[in-house]
């Protein structure tokens, strides 16, 4: 595979180094095959792994959805029992939200952010790997539940006390509560890492307002994660303690207020939906300008509205609780705030449209997906605004009208944007472009299938079809549109099979040589990642990019002449860096995956046997020590260099100084890296 071709940057472990030698376990070094991936700290490989895992879970979540849709194909369906149905729709949502869209966005953020800001890696490469492996284990962990008594069945929002031990016996909800906490740690670790990377490791000259929009949206998302995740952590902790240790947080007989869960969950839950969609907004803001051959319309406004959405997203959560008895004051206040949040989103839509207006548009596959985000999300946004009118929402809530809304914004919005990103950045990541013709098939099948599935749900919802019911009766009149929706779901399946076929076919063609190598700048892009070879070399940039403009790379290629006309002055592929330099890089490490393995152990321990949790805890603490004693970069020549990193806290604030030893340099002076694998 193309990615394994370049390896000279990986440092060899030399004798006399100071890495601790635990028996036979020496620090991984020059790696091939699976070790190259399992011990990597390279943000690009980590991003690819996030994406691959996410696509696997997309398949799983899709199967879950298809089972649901099959059950609902006809009235009084008998494909599934009610309990199986509950498990499937719960896990479909949990999988799609936490194990598909979030990691896909994270895949892009991981891959692109260092490239777009001109850095060599993220601030803490090993921490990055840790986030990946914790995420990987979390996905496996929560799906173990299928095999040990049933998956979580309380809905992805898991309202307590319904999900307490009294009403949800069995281990399903335990796996939910503990599994999401584990996943949350992964997201938090990644979020802090990316925030610091974006704030602190930008190339010279790249002010915040010269950053690409995708990086901006990634920044907002990471900040939302850092602030929202603790709230759901508390909610999940309360639920776990109720279920596992007999606490009374949701015990109504002891005076609990069920609304506590709902508040805590949705205080997280609403920023979460912006976490899900803003990365796609960022992707589209990159794709549309490139294929309209026009700069993004109103860059500062797009950035500001993104930040505004993130900020205002904190003030609307009760709109998920309009009918829960919060009282008229709360309902009115949050109804108003929810209407307000449509404004910055609408602004973005307008900016995207104005970007395309007057441009020279090429309808490549990424462009088509990007345009479809703009239109599909608008539809979803319109139904969203309808929900914001609390009086109307009283009719809409818990019906398929809501299901239609959030699938239009999440599938039609987030997922379409992510597909656009995949086609757009595939050459950068893998060295070849996906097949356009197959991509078109994928696009149209997805678009048609998606609208066929979720369009009718607006009607069904207004006709009164309730959510989360495993059956509907023949007298309800829901038959026709349900059948249509199920057919649409299978069209989506076909679309995704076409996509899978596209990937496999072009990949094998690339390996055989029938699919051409992609140039550095296949799309005539605007941002820094197109100034390096495809696939991106392990060290990213040969030379430090000094930035003087927004869309700086574009300005290296196109300048205005005396008459004000835009003229091409250079070809992107010619002026892109060659990838032939060999700067120092942070070294691979096995601590991230070892430490990550502690979490499922602790989780299983909480559910089954506290001794196992104890073992997990020992592994956790031991790994933290091993990690902190390991220098971020293997010392090259002896150990005069003071590379010992100190003890960090729970892995997320590991005050690691990653430094690149410059041979022959005096240790103290060169010891100036602030976590950046630079210098």
């Amino acid at each position: 595979m193309a990615l394994t071709e370049e390896r000279p940057e990986v440092l060899e472990l030399e004798s006399g180094d100071s890495a601790p030698d635990i028996g036979a376990f020496r620090r991984p070094t020059h790696a091939t095959g699976w070790k190259e991936w399992v011990f990597t700290v390279d943000h690009k490989k980590i991003g690819i792994m996030y994406g691959t895992l996410a696509m696997f879970w997309f398949f799983v979540g899709g199967v879950e959805a298809l089972l649901v849709r099959t059950q609902l194909f006809r009235p009084n369906g008998t494909v599934l029992t009610a309990d199986q149905y509950n498990q499937l729709f719960t896990m479909h949502a949990v999988t799609m939200v936490f194990f598909v869209v979030m990691p896909l966005a994270n895949a892009f953020a991981n891959y692109l952010v260092p490239l777009q800001v001109g850095a060599r890696d993220v601030a803490f490469p090993r921490l990055n790997a840790l986030g990946l492996w914790i995420f990987a284990f979390a996905g496996i962990f929560i799906n173990i539940s299928w095999f040990v008594g049933g998956a979580p069945n309380g809905g992805w929002f898991a309202y307590a006390p319904n999900t307490g031990s009294l009403y949800s016996a069995g281990s399903g909800m335990d796996f939910y509560a503990v599994g999401l906490q584990i996943a949350g740690i992964a997201s938090l670790v990644g979020a802090i890492n990316l925030t610091v990377t974006i704030l602190n490791m930008r190339a010279p000259g790249m002010t915040l307002l010269r950053m690409p929009v995708f990086t901006w949206m990634a920044l907002v998302v990471q900040i939302l994660l850092v602030t929202a995740l603790p709230v759901i952590t508390v909610a999940l902790v309360l639920l776990t303690f109720d279920r596992s240790f007999d606490a009374n947080f949701f015990n109504v007989a002891m005076g609990a207020d069920p609304l506590l869960w709902q508040h805590l969950f949705w205080i997280f839950g609403h920023p979460e939906v912006y976490i899900l969609v803003l990365p796609a907004f960022g992707i589209v803001s990159e794709v549309l300008p490139v294929f309209s051959r026009k700069p993004l319309f109103g860059y500062p406004v797009v950035v500001l509205s993104g930040a505004a959405i993130g900020f205002m997203g904190w003030g609307v959560w009760v709109h998920h609780m309009f009918t829960s008895g919060v009282g008229p004051v709360g309902v009115a206040a949050f109804s108003a705030t929810t209407m307000f949040i449509a404004v910055p989103t609408g602004v973005k839509i307008l900016n995207w449209i104005f970007t395309m207006w007057g441009g020279r548009i090429t309808f490549t596959v990424p462009m088509m997906f990007g345009i479809s985000l703009v239109s599909m999300f608008t539809i979803g946004g319109l139904s969203g605004v309808m929900h914001s009118v609390a009086a109307g929402d009283t009719q809409q809530t818990d019906t398929y009208f809501i299901v239609a809304h959030f699938h239009y914004v999440l599938f039609g919005g987030a997922l379409m944007g992510l597909f656009a990103g995949m086609y757009f950045w595939w050459p950068k990541a893998f060295g070849y472009q996906l097949n356009e013709r197959l991509g078109r098939w994928h696009f149209w099948l997805v678009l048609i299938g998606f609208n066929t599935t979720f369009g009718p749900m607006h009607i069904l919802g207004l006709q009164g079809m309730a959510r989360r019911h495993s059956q509907y009766g023949p007298e309800d009149g829901f038959d026709f549109w349900n059948a249509v929706a199920t057919i649409g779901a299978f069209v989506i399946l076909i679309a995704m099979l076409v996509f899978a076929y596209n990937i496999l076919k072009t990949w094998s063609g690339y390996r055989r040589g029938t699919v051409p190598q992609a140039p550095p700048d296949p799309w005539d892009g605007r941002t820094l990642e197109w100034a390096i070879p495809s696939p991106a070399p392990e060290h990213n940039f040969d030379y430090v990019p000094v930035v003087t403009d927004l869309d700086d790379f574009w300005h290296k290629k196109y300048q205005r002449d005396e008459s004000g006309k835009l003229r091409k002055v250079a070809d992107g592929n010619a002026i892109a860096q060659k990838g032939d330099q060999h700067p120092h890089l942070p070294s691979p490490s096995y601590w991230p995956i070892v430490l990550a393995a502690a979490f499922p152990l602790i989780g299983l321990g909480i559910i089954y046997n506290l001794w196992m949790a104890g073992i997990g805890l020992v592994l956790l603490l031991g790994s933290m020590y091993g990690w902190s004693l390991e220098p971020p970069t293997d010392p090259n020549a002896g150990h005069d260099h003071d590379h010992h990193s100190d003890d960090g806290d729970d892995g997320d604030g590991a005050a690691v100084a990653s430094e690149a030893p410059s041979e022959g340099d005096d240790a103290a002076e060169a010891d100036s890296t602030e976590g950046a694998p630079v210098g």
Binding site: V326, G327, G330, A668, S672
Partner: protein, 119 residues
Amino acid sequence: MSTATDTAANAHGHDEHESHGLSDLGYIGIAIILAILTAVEVSTYFFDFGALEVPSLLILMVVKFWIVVAYFMHLKFDSKILSWVFVAALVLALAVFAAMGTSMVFWQDPAGCDIGEFC
């Protein structure tokens, strides 16, 4: 690690260090102030402050909080971005949980509500 900044700091002698915080004696002074404030707080347990009790406890809490953050945690002397990061999170926490709290305590009483649907 911050060798660069520290090397620079050492190069400037202790000027930069001085302007970046207090001397040991200064820190002890801060600690004494904190101790006094704590004593006043605790005295609310022994003496009746009446209606002033809750406001004064809250004010004392905030003042102590701010003193530790600004001086012991150095936020007053550090880059503004750190203040932004921390204060933003703090304000967010306060606002969100105040809203949640008041919603759960004050706005649920249907006694004064005559809009049947929402109460």
